[in-house]
Symmetry: C2
Subunit: 299 residues, 2 copies
């Protein structure tokens, strides 16, 4: 990954030292292994999805104005937005070149679609947050695009690299989509302190104007007076005002956490049902374990 | 280009209404026409390079914190950085999907390389500006990457789409590179008011810390006392202080404009010499015209 630009090398070094959970390459490699021995196309796909994911994280931190990522300073906090935007573009092009250099056209098709859906999902989220839209179907549409589309792409591209037939690639895509939805609901639960070990502090999503499932459900359950107060507090929170702690408590009181947790397990179960259409192998067991980790992780 | 995200559609509508000079698609289509009749692959390539170019402009305005683009408000000024970063990513992925959907693998190879070089070039420019590096070779390396690489990709992908043999594709790439260098030197001359009709105000590059050829040459020509004052003024300019008008006048006085203009014509001549290795056709005449427009344009 060395370039001829020292600044870029310093940023890349910083990124590589602070790896995440690497769940996306694991989804990719296990999906490949389910259909055949691991070979170069599977490793290319795994590298590409992690590069792509890293690119979107770097851009997300600009989008959200975050100064923290994985417990360390974000790229935009250390080097400013300028560098973060450009490094994100660089990572994206490096990922695509990897597929191009290895002649993996189908991989490019799968991931380009995911890149488009991810940016669409983020834009949809911003728009719906601004309009204070508390529709559950809209929430699921957003997380399907912004998060699940990439995990779906991991499983589909892995399966394709492993030599799966088109209908099996489609099945793995569906598995990844359900797993990805469960993953994002879990992430959104963390913001309400649910099931959390360490990580980002509670209430951040509300302050960033992100309307997630626990809040959406609570709002739709609330009595008119409560609802009015909650909507007002969400509006104030985006301006750094309002009692966010009390809002979080209200969401818990109205059953928002339990409801979202149930939705998460529902999608986990749907993912599992899809997976069980395939023969049991060590790779399938691995995918089950990864799915379990998705919903039981504490960070 | 319609999506399911109303916010995205509004931004896209805004962008499409404010088209630029569309020089990149013209380079692409004329390069294709030199080798054969225009057909779908050439149009795909032309659309892709314009989408890509637009994506980088949207990101550039975030990077440079510009609130103007083509005489109108920039996307980041109207919708904030968040939207601009995501719309840039969306345009990039839409462009790539265009190539994927049309099965144009070689096109993807050519443009992915350009995307990587463009972000490298921008990062290199930032780094060198910070270190106050006034090396002419570094300047040419930066503009070759950040600007000429895409115009080279236009000509190479166009030629490939038109059915050119690999050595002719390479020749057209070299032509595009020289034309692209001339194009950027011309752009940098505008900042010193040279040959300008309307457009961005003088001195912007200096304020943004961009060290371009007129300034670099003037600095390398200046007597020690002048040089010291100039370097100090460049440093102050990035903080919104210092007499930028006087610095521009000094650059003119020291022959910076004339020197850069000569360099621009040198690269134009090199481009022309490459082009003349090909048989004369209406398309070749068109490329010559485009090259002339590159160096003689007033905006």
């Amino acid at each position: 990954m060395r370039s001829k630009v020292p600044l870029l090398d310093r940023v890349m070094h910083y990124i590589v030292q602070r790896k995440g959970k690497q769940m996306r390459p694991m989804f990719t490699l296990l999906s490949a292994r389910q259909f055949g021995p691991l070979s170069e196309p599977a490793y290319t796909a795994a590298s590409l999805v992690e590069l792509l994911h890293t690119a979107t994280l770097v851009h997300d931190d600009v989008v959200d104005d975050s100064d923290r990522r994985r417990g360390f300073f974000s790229i935009n906090a250390l080097w400013k937005n300028k560098v973060a935007v450009l490094v994100g573009d660089y990572l994206l092009s490096k990922g695509l070149l990897l597929a191009v250099d290895h002649g993996q056209f189908e991989l490019l098709r799968i991931v380009s679609t995911a890149v488009r859906e991810m940016s669409e999902g983020e834009l949809l989220q911003m728009e719906k947050a601004r309009g204070l839209n508390f529709d559950e179907a809209v929430y699921f549409d957003i997380i399907r695009k912004k998060t699940a589309s990439l995990i779906a792409a991991c499983c589909a591209s892995g399966a394709h690299a492993g030599g799966a037939a088109p209908e099996q690639v489609a099945l793995m895509r569906d598995f990844g989509e359900q797993a990805g939805i469960a993953f994002q609901v879990k992430d959104d639960l963390f913001d309400y302190g649910a099931g959390k070990g360490i990580g980002k502090p509670t209430g951040i999503d509300i302050k960033e104007g992100k309307l997630t499932l626990p809040l959406i459900h609570a709002l739709n359950q609330a009595a008119p007076a409560d609802r009015q107060w909650m909507v007002r507090t969400v509006k104030q929170a985006s301006k750094g005002k309002g009692d966010v702690g009390k809002l979080v408590a209200k969401v818990v009181e109205l059953g928002g956490i339990e409801y979202a947790r149930k939705a998460m397990y529902d999608h986990r179960d749907q993912a599992l049902a899809i997976l069980h259409k395939l023969p049991r192998t060590p790779a399938r067991d691995g995918l089950e374990g990864l799915l379990e980790m998705t919903v039981e992780r504490t960070k």
